[in-house]
Symmetry: C2
């Protein structure tokens, strides 16, 4: 083994942090692909649901820039559809945007370290960006959770109860603070040892950096 | 020949319009690569210099968002350096940003349909983003033009004179109007039969669409 081997080939992959908002169309493009891509490179994946709303407010934006700037928005919808086609992902432009993702974000955070997080996130994303349905209410979330593989052993009522506690609500707020502190200004974002990669377009670069 | 061949393989490549500002760091990443990439795919390349300033003003921005939003800016510099390294391009973060690109833009527009446009644009980009020098004054432009291949047969004094005429100044203004009308909101942008692709990250997609 020479130095080159030591440096480049025998280091353990580093964790890839995936920061996303369940209301974000570009997060959809990453969320539907990231678990398989990380597994293929043996990169440990860390799910980091957060909320874009407070991050946008820091910039003086009351909602998504795709809503505030119609020119930018028209392009974003054309571009997302084109990218979804490129990746072979189903896509329907949501009739409501951005959808309220607060409760879904709380549940994603609750499940973040479990085997259920990938299936839950993909089911929410599919609901929002393929089925064009809301992800806001306890009823919506009960439907999503009920549709997941029973082998995951999820108790929808218990999850909703826990997601609604004051303590857990503060956890999601703290998560947004962590995003801010990491310099995150949009979603999806990826962190590898603190190095920031922004946008679905950087998923591959982030995977290479982690691997 | 079957229908599939007719549809997919025997169509002539369509022109690729490259919309750029000589002050734009992400335009640099495309400008240094696009001529060779288009030639490799036999895609006719149309150079479309324009100015981002008026486009940013439409959004209420007095300058680049990378200046107005320090968080966004810090990321942009890190990201541009990383992307330049990925493409094997030299890179130095400019000590002045965005640089005044008005005169250089006028000259690029003057040369846009000539063999000199690629060499001129790359020389300006290199000056701004590798040598960290201005591209604003007649002196700067004389230096750039003098450094180009003599076989291009350029007359620097005549070019500067023509670039400064009222008629030519209006041509660049009209170019910005065309950008606006095409829905362009940033640079680089690419147009293929009116279809918009935004950002250096979409250069490959635009080339595929054109080819």
């Amino acid at each position: 083994m020479n130095d080159h081997d030591k440096d480049d080939h025998h280091k353990a992959p580093r964790p890839l942090e995936f920061w996303f908002d369940l209301a974000s169309n570009y997060s959809y493009l990453s969320a539907m692909r990231i678990e398989a891509l990380a597994a293929a490179r043996r990169v440990p994946l860390v799910w980091r649901p957060f909320l874009l709303g407070p991050i946008f407010k820091d910039r003086g934006w009351s909602t998504s820039p795709f809503v505030l700037d119609p020119v930018r928005g028209a392009y974003a919808w054309q571009d997302t559809a084109r990218q979804a086609a490129k990746f072979g992902l189903p896509w329907r432009r949501p009739s409501v945007f951005p959808r309220d993702s607060l409760l879904a974000g709380r549940i994603a955070l609750l499940l973040a370290d479990t085997d259920a997080v990938g299936p839950f996130v993909r089911a929410c994303m599919r609901r929002n960006f393929v089925l064009d349905q809301d992800i806001a209410t306890e009823h919506d979330m009960t439907e999503v959770l009920a549709g997941l593989d029973p082998q995951l052993g999820l108790d929808a009522a218990a999850i909703l109860r826990q997601a609604g506690t004051a303590e857990h609500k503060l956890r999601l707020r703290a998560q947004v603070e962590r995003a801010r502190a990491a310099g995150i200004f949009g979603a999806p974002s990826f962190l590898v040892d603190g190095e920031l990669f922004w946008g679905n377009d950087r998923l591959d670069d982030a995977l290479v950096a982690a691997a």
